[in-house]
């Protein structure tokens, strides 16, 4: 989330000692600071040409003055500011909690009672902002932080006094597509009613986990905001009525913030966090605890050399910060001023190629599907931000239903679209067994980053690739984890067939490695599908006196096993199947889930210290308001790899279209350096981990504090163990 100071950073601003960088946006850099009395603060330092501009200074000073007048417990208070220095700065109280965006990404939609509390308190916050004469202009899930006693509205970075139309006079609009109001999308000034619209979007997002106008490219979002009705399935009762009113196209039809406060008269929560679901409350508490652990002074790191592509014009930087700027007289063509997102189809000379994303509907695959889509969109946005590109890229997402027929249908639709040049996916095993025949016949190259069986090769030996390891390999690595961490003890291994055929792939290797490589005792049990034999198998294995436990099954059965082991007082090492990484296991298992391991190729890049991991995490955070979710990194690597190799198949001059089949030929020989691993493909076009590198590319996560925490790669853990002798 934060990173050390750089050598170019100041160590102190006024009374604030700077501890870490919290982030860098279009406006400048935000630091974590501490006052001499020990209070933490977020100190935003404005950088760039604009900061020297007299008009800017006057506006900044006025904004600060107005913001200081906002006195509401749910608005982060301004502590201090200085508009007169060379680099103006603004300090607000630091709130360590996760944003609504992060909480929903990690734990799903909030219960309606929590949304009501949010609605009432945020309406109060906005009312205070509006009363002070300000319009926030960027109310979105990423700008609402959660604390145990209620939400905090943050980021006045692009807030402007309501009577200050300097920006809008030129037709520019500031805000976040998907949450900004139709009038903003059309280039009109934002008003307090625009904030109310955005609040309605935030409440809908908190209730359903989805923005009411969906996800997608900025221009699509803007179009839908102006023309389409919001998607509010799942928002019910009084809340639904209110959200619908907030989302009225006509600003005059929306309630005021004060009206909304009157609707949600629920009592303000106490400081126990009881208004939040348990896992979110734990997340909030964990963040607060982490913030206490910030050291007072950290070593600075040497600045990376300036990268010109990351520093667009200073003027644009000033206006950006993830903000969308619309051309004044345009017809909805949107441009990301910071140059980091999808460009419009504004350049007829450039061809537009399409990256398909083949996902699966349904709850079991929701996480991998969403991560794949987001990864593809980010990769495409990055391509479209390069100035000298000879073609533009677009993302097209089609979802199957997890079965063979719809998987083939999706593949047929992608292959029939001649603009589709590569596909990320399918994401699920059955589609990855069946769709490849269609892709293969059409010579359309696709990469699946979330499957682990190689059946595809039999029907599609040229065009189909898998960028994740086999399930079986991960089973072997559970044994290796036990070996490295000196937990080689007699183990029980339960393979629950209800978890799918991957359970056998993984379990067979756990058993054989435990027995043949670790030379330890293993007690295997196989549970038949559609029976309730799991608990008995667990009891039998425990009765055999095992000291380690591996349960390979579906989520609910694994949770039940965790509870059974906890009840039995079993404290030995415990592993779950790798596909449960990122699942709801920590929440559902509660205290019984603490200490469970999962060994997977899926990395959490936000805790890595390498430059690629940090850059990627920062880009994701900026784009989506959260750190990369599980499986996002591998999907992003796969998308980037596809696009990088595709680029090499595009004929110079772009007169001819690239030949589809060329991509697969290149990919078969690729050696691609991703965020946390190197990709190469084996004889079956599977992820090639035959070299020794995989130990550094396989990660162990432990459930701790109610969430998955990355302990490190197997290589890290091995080196740590060796250094301890």
């Amino acid at each position: 989330m934060s990173e050390p100071l750089r050598s170019s950073d100041p160590s102190r601003i006024a009374e604030f000692r700077l501890l870490r960088r919290l982030g860098a946006g279009g406006m400048g850099v935000v630091y974590l600071g501490r006052t001499d009395s020990g209070a933490l603060a977020a100190v935003k330092v404005i950088r760039g040409e604009g900061s020297g501009d007299d008009d800017f200074r006057a506006r900044f000073a006025r904004e600060v003055e107005l913001a200081r007048r906002v006195d509401n417990p749910w608005v982060v208070p301004v502590l201090d500011a200085d508009a007169e220095t060379r680099e103006p700065w603004l300090a607000t109280a630091f709130v360590p909690g996760p944003s609504i965006a992060e909480a929903v990404a990690a734990h799903g939609p909030l219960p309606s009672q929590a949304v009501r509390v949010l609605g009432g308190l945020l309406a109060g916050a906005l009312d205070a902002v509006h009363t002070a004469g300000l319009v926030h202009r960027d109310v979105k899930p990423g700008n609402v932080l959660l604390a145990l006693d209620g939400p905090r509205l943050i980021d006045f970075g692009i807030a402007r006094a309501a009577d200050d139309t300097a920006l809008t006079a030129s037709g520019l609009v500031v805000g976040t597509p998907g949450f900004l109001a139709p009038e903003q999308a059309e280039g009109q000034p934002a008003t307090s009613a625009s904030d109310v619209f955005a609040l309605g979007c935030v409440l809908a997002y908190a209730s359903t986990g989805m923005p009411p106008f969906g996800t997608g490219t900025p221009d699509a979002l803007l179009y839908r905001t102006v023309h389409d009705e919001p998607e509010l399935a799942g928002v019910e009762g009084e809340l639904r009525t209110l959200v619908e009113r907030c989302l009225a196209k006509d600003p005059s039809e929306r309630p005021t913030a004060e009206d909304i406060r009157g609707v949600f008269t629920d009592d303000a929560p106490d400081a126990s966090g009881g208004w939040l679901p348990d896992p979110v409350a734990r997340m909030v508490a964990a963040r607060a605890a982490e913030s206490l652990a910030f050291p007072d002074v950290e070593p600075t790191v040497v600045d990376e050399p300036a990268d010109p592509t990351r520093h667009p014009g200073r003027r644009r930087l000033l206006l950006a910060g993830g903000a969308l700027l619309l051309a004044g007289g345009g017809t909805g063509a949107a441009v990301w001023a910071s140059g980091d997102d999808e460009k419009p189809a504004a350049s007829p000379a450039r061809p537009v190629y399409v990256l398909g994303v083949h996902t699966t509907t349904g709850t079991a695959e929701a996480a991998v599907s969403r991560a794949s889509e987001r990864a593809a969109r980010l990769a495409v946005a990055e391509h479209n931000a390069t100035r000298k590109r000879s073609y533009d890229l677009k993302v097209k997402v089609l979802a199957d239903r997890g079965d063979a027929d719809t998987a083939r249908e999706v593949a047929r639709r992608f292959t029939a679209d001649r603009n589709v040049v590569a596909v990320l996916g399918p994401v699920a095993e059955i589609p990855m067994r069946t769709a490849p025949a269609v892709y293969g016949a059409a010579g359309l190259t696709h990469v699946s980053s979330t499957t682990g069986q190689q059946d595809y090769f039999l029907t599609s030996p040229k065009s189909s690739f898998q960028s994740g390891p086999a399930h079986g390999a991960l089973g072997g690595w559970i044994a290796l984890h036990a070996y490295i961490t000196r937990q080689v003890v007699p183990a029980g291994v339960v393979i629950d067939r209800a978890g799918g055929s991957a359970m056998q792939d993984e379990g067979t290797q756990v058993v054989s490695n435990w027995r043949n490589v670790l030379k330890s005792e293993v007690v295997p049990r196989v549970v038949a599908e559609d029976t309730d034999d799991g608990p008995k198998a667990v009891r039998d294995v425990l009765a055999a006196g095992v000291k380690a436990f591996v349960y390979l099954g579906a989520l609910d059965a694994t949770v039940r096993t965790a509870q059974a082991l906890a009840s039995a007082g079993f404290t030995g090492p415990r592993w779950m199947q790798h596909q449960l990484y990122g699942s709801d296991f920590p929440r559902l298992a509660g205290a019984a889930g603490e200490g469970w391991y999962v060994v997977t190729d899926a990395v959490d890049p936000s805790v890595l210290t390498t430059k690629p991991a940090k850059d990627f995490t920062a880009a994701w955070l900026k784009h989506y308001g959260s750190t990369p979710e599980p499986y996002a990194t591998e999907a992003y690597d796969s998308a980037k790899m596809l696009l990088a190799e595709f680029a090499r198949t595009v004929p110079a001059g772009a007169r001819r279209r690239p030949v589809r089949a060329d991509l697969a030929v290149r990919l078969a020989k690729v050696k691609y350096q991703g965020i946390a691993r190197t990709y190469a493909f084996g004889d079956f076009h599977q992820y090639d981990n035959s070299s020794t590198g995989w130990a550094d590319e396989t990660f162990v996560h432990e459930v701790r504090g109610g969430r998955f925490r990355q302990l490190g790669s197997l290589g890290d853990l091995n080196r740590a163990a060796q250094s301890q002798g």
Binding site: D455, T459, S501, D505, N516, V526, D530, D683
Partner: protein
Amino acid sequence: MAGWRPVLAATTGALLLAGCSGGASDDEPKAEGTPKKSSGASPAASPANEPYTLAEDQAPKTRAEAVAFVRELTVRPDYFGTGYRTRDPFESDPAEWAVLGEDCLWRREALPGTVLASLTRMYELPAKDGKGPVYVSLTVTVHQDVVSARRDMAGSLEEALRCPGQQLNATDRVLDLYSQVNAFADGRSVISDDDLTETGSWAADGGKARPFDWYKFRMGPVTVAATARHGSGRTETEDSTVTTDMGKGMTFVAASIDSKGRAGDAAEPTEPKEAGQ
């Protein structure tokens, strides 16, 4: 169905930790990129839309009905390929079945309460032209219900994990069993409700190890299992043919049972499904 599955095992094998797979087979998975045991049918053939199965209400309910059911099934020697003949003794006692003990030794025991009948028939391909004999057994077991049959399949999978080496009888030992079971719903090229394949090797009295196959299908409450103990002197391709032919023979039996359930009486299968070949 026999066509592709060995390559899956081989693929997985290629991805294991070095040293963990033992000397299960002489397969060099990386040496070829095509299914090694393909019988010539196209691997692209799409799976049938329905598995061979037997509805629970069409299945035998009593031990007497179950014994009659397994005895009435026709299992001709040439189901397994040209040249096969029945062995002597040909059939086992349908009131017994083989059980793998804690000591990894197979013994024949009386049927448990969950099994109504189990009949094993034995066949051989006599030694000829320098090629050793092949012994094939085929066992049809009627369980009391579908759940019992599911548990039996899980048990078979567990056996290979529990005992990678198994003593078949006084002289014959099975080694390095690798097994996999796929439900029809998994979308793999499976022909029954649940297809189990095990591959390994067998050796008689310390002799040279030869390929060993064990396949098992579940159709509702009925399981059909076959083993093949390959003889010496065959090339890898010839061994593949033995395996494939055994799988074909099982498919004929599965088709018989399936059509028995549908027609309500025994019918000679004329056109077995081509799934997975």
